[in-house]
Point group: C2
Chain length 106, copies 2
Amino acid sequence: MVREPLGEEAAVGLSRMFKALSDPIRLRLLSLIASYEGGEACVCDLTGPFDVSQPTISHHLKVLREAGLVGSERRGTWVYYWVIPQALAQLSALLQIPAAPAKAGA
Amino acid sequence: MVREPLGEEAAVGLSRMFKALSDPIRLRLLSLIASYEGGEACVCDLTGPFDVSQPTISHHLKVLREAGLVGSERRGTWVYYWVIPQALAQLSALLQIPAAPAKAGA
DNA sequence: CTTCTGTATCGACGAATGTCGAAACAGCAA
DNA sequence: TTGCTGTTTCGACATTCGTCGATACAGAAG
């Protein structure tokens, strides 16, 4: 982020992940999944805490999944979601700014 | 993010910042500003690298500013923008996930 | 088979977003 | 003053997004 100006392709990919985080419900969904024991949660646990309909939650989970932030698997009747740590780590590292800001010129 | 499920208010505030990062041009703008010497850049330096019009760049800068990710100041003829490190640090910390994921239950 | 529950997809709607050209504003220089 | 350059704001437009109800799909149980 700071060391060099971030190419166009990279920016497109990263912005897709950030876009997945740009909704309050998706942010809370991600946090809810991450905070569950074992790092995964059943969809049935994720619909209760929100004021929106079940299809809407399903839609948000799909957005998170297509952004590569979570994975999912059906086990019998229920579908489980888990966080993909590498994806979050990539974004976290990108936002890490040294205290003394700059280095490279234009 | 992992330790407890992230309240509704907090999620709204954080999602606003992530939304500002959800566009490739804004991501590159931020990176471009951060990578400039002194950590700040003139708008005149920021319009060249992009294929969009200058008003569009101005609009994206406004979005970044209103999200609290950058600050700006007019100095004579030119307007300068700089990154606000605390804002990025907050997001970066939120995305920091321990290697062994979970702890808290539902 | 049928039925029931959990989850995903579909189609539609209003609201928000990214983009542009045109116009307005800010500061400097004649 | 007038003019010039850098930047922002204003309308307008097509596209995308979040949401819903209705429907379809998946698996387990009668």
